[in-house]
């Protein structure tokens, strides 16, 4: 540092934006955090689907039928299953965040475990909900 150039020194860089790798390595808690934000952005679309449901219902039977056939199509089902995963992951990981806000769950091992619990909850809850939807349909 003796022969540092005059003028301001480069500012310290937060580890998460040290693009050469820095002190970070890929980790499950990191993936869980990124996924929380990504699913939150996905749920922006999910809220608009909820709005479309309400608006089509208010518009009458024709519009509601059009909404139903849209979400019952293959593409509609793929989007809805994706949004269901987003809902349940964001919910499970959100509870994890609420625990952190209360001061619990910060031990590295606990944080790792609860990340996997959030993944598992999202998948299992999505399968259960869609199994319920599809089996009630078959019964009718």
């Amino acid at each position: 540092m003796a022969d540092a150039a005059p003028g301001p020194r480069p500012r310290p860089i937060s580890p998460n934006i040290q693009l050469d790798g820095g002190v970070w390595r890929w980790h499950v808690t990191m993936f869980a955090s990124i996924l929380h934000r990504a699913t939150g952005m996905g749920l922006y679309v999910g809220a608009l689907v909820f709005m479309a449901w309400a608006l089509s219902l208010a518009a009458g039977p024709g519009a509601y039928g059009a909404f139903q056939s849209l979400v019952a199509s293959i593409l509609g089902k793929i989007v809805l299953i994706g949004l269901t995963l987003c809902v349940f992951y964001h919910m499970g990981n959100g509870v994890r965040h609420l625990a952190w806000d209360s001061g619990y769950g910060f031990r590295p091992k606990t944080a790792d475990t609860t990340a996997f619990v959030a993944f598992g909850f999202a998948v299992v809850a999505t399968i259960l909900l869609w199994a319920a939807i599809l089996t009630t349909g078959a019964a009718q």
Binding site: R37, G40, F50, L55, Q140
Partner: protein, 132 residues
């Protein structure tokens, strides 16, 4: 606070605007509400998925369902707006773009919430058996 902030930082107006607590609390309270409301919503979807138009309108004629659906819309659009605000603040550096997106986000949140809630209320308050 003046002790930990540098004079230069103070002169430039850097640091907290002291309005963050409301955002923090609102995000958490809506989060807790949404856990409960979405679990109810998931159960409700099973009943509505294969029903027709009258299944859905009959369902919304129950005051409990109508109230919870309105609360779900309110909490969801509020929580969504709060979350997207943080994302915009984190990733958009250009001041004018950031301001425009923040305003757009607020508009989408309030407009989407208002449309959803009024649509639910229109169906919920219509006389039973009448196509709205």
């Amino acid at each position: 606070m003046s002790v930990v902030r540098s004079p230069l930082g103070r002169a430039r107006g850097l640091g907290s605007a002291k309005h963050g607590v409301g955002h923090f609390i609102a995000q958490r309270v809506t989060a807790i509400a949404l856990v409960l409301l979405l679990l109810w919503g998931a159960v409700s979807v099973v009943g509505l998925a294969h029903g027709d138009y009258s299944t859905a309108t009959d369902w919304l004629h129950s005051p409990i369902n109508a109230a919870l659906a309105v609360l779900l819309a309110f909490a969801a659009f509020w929580h969504m707006q709060l979350g997207m605000r943080v994302i915009i603040e984190d990733y958009i550096q250009k001041a004018s773009t950031k301001a425009a997106l923040l305003v757009l986000n607020i508009f989408v949140g309030w407009l989407g919430g208002a449309l959803t809630i009024l649509a639910i209320l229109k169906v919920a308050l219509a006389p039973a058996g009448v196509s709205v």
